[in-house]
Amino acid sequence: MTPTVETMPRVNGRDTGAFGEPGVVIDCKLDQVFYGSFLAVRDSRVEVERGKITGFIGPSGCGKSTVLRSLNRMNDLIRGFRFEGHVRFHGKDVYGRNVDPVAVRRYIGMVFQQPNPFSMSIFDNVAFGLRLNRFKGNVAERVEQALRSAALWDEVKDKLKNSGLSLSGGQQQRLCIARAVATEPSVLLMDEPCSALDPIATRRIEELMLQLKQRYTIAIVTHNMQQAQRVADITAFFSVDISKGSRTGYLVEAGPTKQIFESPREQLTKEYVSGQFS
């Protein structure tokens, strides 16, 4: 019997909820985040809950991508990045001493704005993370499962040897999702995953997210408020503070998506979700 998605062993360990508060996978508190001397984000606290999609919305420059990329320490690659606060992943601070950012990224996977498959075959793209983690099981089986859960299997099963770059934009993005989920990370971060895609491909990715959330915790940055309404369970609204002559992002409010869009607590949120500024 082929293992189903549910019975497959996790490479990096399933979310057992063994430690940390139940339900909260990531508790992130950003006091100050700098790029060089530029204060990009201040005073924001967001919790990402297990099995839910948390959407980050807000106008350009509000720091929503910075917050997302802080969660798996991708910002460490940017020169001058400095972080004050904490990101507790199952209660452990990923910015703590002795924490290896490389290990963090193996538990918290990422899908980017531009589809970015490696210049290798479709199969090798998906198997990449497995090989990286010295996965001992049946690689071909896992690749198939990952491609199935990314709703791409039927389109590529006869051309697994073709280059990942030969696919269309929407397919490439689903390939990137398959690559990210192949190692079964516990959290999937998506940084505007549909902004480079057409409406049909966008729709497919959104449907896919709704399927994936049964198995993965997802945090998504989106510029598109309708998208947040369609997919997010929890929405965090960020805005830009230009009062001190700089552009610093901060969290205005976060809550269940329905509440944020229908009865926000803050006037600013109300203005943003009703389209009065963007």
Partner: protein, 302 residues
Amino acid sequence: MTGPTLSAGQLAVPVARLERSPFEPRALKSLLLTAGVWAAAIVAAIPLVSVLYMLAVRGGARLSASVFVELPPAGFEMGGGFGNALVGTVVMVGLGGVLSVPLGILCAVFLAELGPYSRLAEAARFAAKTLTGMPSILAGVFAYAAVVLVTGTYSAPAGALALAVLMVPTVVLTAEEAIKAVPKITRDAAYGMGCTRSQVIWKVLLPTAMPGILTGVMLAVARAAGETAPLLFTALFSSYWLFDGGVPQLMQPTASLAVLIYNFSGMPFENQIELAWAASLVLVLLVLVINVISRLVGQRRA
């Protein structure tokens, strides 16, 4: 006719002039410029094509299977070939590549990825740029001092070192550009998958940059294969085989195609001059073949 009709006034569309009018000023200008570009391209191709033509005609006439297996003739001797020189060139360029390609690629990885803004990188980049313009004879003098004087003999390794010194800067600079040209989003993907820095380099950056790196290696090999000056000081020339009964005799003067062409083309003997032409053609074909192979390898990977 029934139904509403349109009066002429309602159809007053200006009549478009769509015919070509070549003598209109801007069309004329475009024509002249196009002709100019064509002329320049043809003029630039003349020396190239004529060199190849001369090689094909004069070299091709003397080309036969025997020139590849026979030793160079002496003085008034007829016949002969340049088998030992071909072997010498392949061995010395190959050795030079073994020395310079790994070193150059590792150096490029450092320049592009590990410490692109460090002082060491600035210095290395400056040195490499300077060395690409260095007269090749200086590489020969360097290898003469470093190997020939130390070992007391002209040899293939000395020639290989001289060629390696010439190849390294080209490999470094082109490989650096190729690695830098890997898109940032590809790097992000690799780091996002949880690659360590060395995994990003080995598993993603180098494979992705490989076609570009190979181009640089080929440029370096092609240049090295045609160099004469550095070999005059280091490998000199020989009228004998590099391999004696299958055993390479590296520590002795070694023949090469470039030096053979240099020596024979100045001789007053028709036979030697013909051989020089044939050797030139073989050298060009050798570079061509390596080039084609590297392109095929590059395409397969991309």
